[in-house]
Symmetry: C2
């Protein structure tokens, strides 16, 4: 039995970042950049008005105040994207809109709210300093600058940035292909009639959704009964994927044949027990470049081990390093206990109250009770040597997104 930290180290050692592919900009959201992005030009490319108003020479406005405005002659105007034909010299101004090119000679913009115009004259009621209300060329991005490094997760802001750099397409890391097999003769497909002793397969559905959520491309291979031949066949088929997730059949029992089947399929085992609760019996192995995870059959164990081990593997394949969950300090509202000698992942619900957070543990922390995952929006990781935390204590809760 190894620690989660050690297990993660072993998993990460086996991961290679996947190759890249080109996608259209609007399809790049939630993907990961496979290339460094440099800017081919300044943004903005020219000095421009940052406010609607009058382009002036700042020096001209020095004495301007509410009672003694400075009067300038309006010689031209320019709207966003355009440049006035006239230049600005002392005593003159150009009426200008946000986004227009700053006219030659001008070095500041007085905003409309501080002016009053009549015919071709404008009264300036407030002095401006040089550069005021002007966006200078290269203010956001400089030509040649590395704007986004390879490995960047593409959020809406990055999509906007790529658009402003004129990128119609971008190189992103391919999505890890993840095969999901549920093992167990007790499993029934949702929608089918349930015979005595059987239960509906829920793990492959939850795992499928978890894979989608962290940027992988899942395929549900389906339910395979506890039959060595049949399982071996399916496993061999699934070893063409980047990751194979098996749910169920990794505990101690006589009918637990997953390990044996994986051995026959040429999968090299690297560990099969991790000191966590829930989720101790968890297999990890590799065959060529395929990572194989044998997750426990219990729905909570399966989901938590996915979060702790598979998600980091998928992120590493994508070249992402940001799989740490945000942590929020909260007041524990009910005592929690760790009855194992393993790191214990307690499911809690965080509720905000007057700017502070309260953490309510799920009523049942059993690994078979999926309702605790439905309840939870956070996880408390109790170290193996902490036996209990009393109600009212401060705890760190990791946010489940």
């Amino acid at each position: 039995m190894i620690s989660l930290e050690k297990a993660l180290e072993i998993v990460k050692r086996e991961v290679k970042v996947l190759p890249s592919e080109k996608v259209k900009l609007l399809s790049s959201l939630n993907r990961v950049l496979a290339e460094d992005i440099y800017s081919e030009f300044d943004i903005p490319q020219f000095n421009r008005a940052a406010m609607d108003g009058y382009a002036v020479i700042a020096q001209d406005t020095t004495s301007a105040c509410l009672t003694h405005p400075v009067v300038l002659k309006i010689v031209d105007e320019a709207s966003a994207g355009f440049k006035a034909k006239s230049s600005v010299s002392s005593g003159k101004a150009v009426r200008i809109m946000t986004g227009a090119i700053l006219p030659e000679g001008a070095d500041a913009v007085v905003m409309f709210e501080d002016t009053e115009s009549e015919k071709d004259e404008v009264k300036i009621f407030r002095s401006v300093k040089q550069g005021r209300n002007v966006s200078f060329s290269g203010e956001d991005v400089k030509k040649g600058e590395k704007v986004l490094p390879r490995g960047t997760f593409i959020r809406p802001a990055e999509v906007g940035m790529l658009a402003s750099l004129s990128k119609e397409e971008v190189c992103v890391v391919k999505k890890p292909k993840v095969a999901i097999i549920s093992t167990g003769s007790e499993l029934t497909e949702p929608g089918d009639a349930l015979k005595e002793g059987k239960i509906y397969d829920s793990n492959s559905f939850a795992l499928f959704s978890q894979v989608v959520s962290c940027g992988g491309q899942p395929e549900r291979i389906g339910i395979v009964p506890d039959d060595e031949k049949e399982l071996l066949l399916k496993v061999k088929e699934a070893l063409s994927f980047d990751i194979l997730l098996l749910s169920g059949g990794v505990s101690m029992g006589k009918y637990d044949l997953v390990k044996e089947v994986l051995r026959k399929a040429g999968v090299r085992m690297l560990f099969w027990k991790v000191a966590v609760k829930p989720g101790k019996p968890t297999f990890f192995g590799v065959r060529n470049h395929t990572l194989v995870f044998g997750l426990p059959g219990y729905p909570v164990s399966s989901m938590i081990n996915f979060e702790n081990l598979v998600k980091p593997a998928i992120f590493e394949m994508l070249g992402r390093k940001d799989y740490k969950r945000f942590k929020i300090r909260a007041t524990l509202k009910e005592e929690i206990k760790n009855t194992s000698n393993r790191e214990n992942f307690i499911r809690v619900k965080l509720i905000e109250q007057e700017g502070k957070y309260l953490a309510y543990p799920a009523p049942s922390q059993k690994s078979g009770v999926l309702k605790s995952m439905v309840w939870a929006n956070g996880i408390i990781a109790l170290p193996k040597d902490v036996r209990k935390v009393e109600s009212g204590k401060q705890v760190l809760v990791e946010i489940l997104s």
Copy 2:
């Protein structure tokens, strides 16, 4: 000029929850339930072994210890999903796997680790209490129970739960259809050549991605130059959507014709200035059931106002109430200032250091500098009457997901 709080109130008053549609379970991730989900059966449906081991009568094991094990006769066995033919009476045990039906007569399971078997006998080295290592019927979910209420956001755990309830399809709220128009003669499509004074349209790309991220279905209508006729045509076309987002053209200038066009298109204006920085000039109006937002042209203002006003509207249309961002207490690493009389949204990067968070403000907080949104994973909302916060102070940072 109204407060953000007031603006939100006005927006929410105009929102109606959208109708529902049926989707396949695997497509329900990140959607919102449009129906209450009740369970038609207990989960589990029978008492079952929660561990691999021996089903026994707890009473039989009372005296068991390492030095004086209790010896029981193995009369049968059962694997997951099955039931032993024999029942358990005093002195007898059934070898049983996790997920098997608890045999008649038995009331506890001794796990393998506490036993030793030879032929048809098993030595029990540890006593168990009644109910130990047994999952009782209805332990996770009771028949008739309301498991998930309408309005639930469907995460992987909910998908798993719905599978375990045998739901092949679920009723979810339709995705709000969102039309996006970028206005401004200065805008150029990414990939096209850039003429003097022009810039690439980035807002419609960022907004498109923001709509996707919060569960809407965006359509990029495209760039419309500052021409009343052309804009009116496009706006009328887009008023068939649930939401129309216009970017640019809501500030004071002569060429800002968006308000006029919206009036002509029959849009009833409800506000057009909000006391926030960035993003003061923001139009909101309605026509029939269509919400119309005129967002500022500056990329940061546009994105922040989307977060603050449009996202809540989309969430309300979906029947979700959980649009509040999680807040993390952090140490501010550089002084921040509010030079406006408006609520100020400062973009910061949260970095974890030894279990604590540090908040680094983006070097430029100008609304034209999209790089600040690329920099940020969090936002500090500075109230309008707070002039500055010094470096080293504790601040609350809202997480941008």
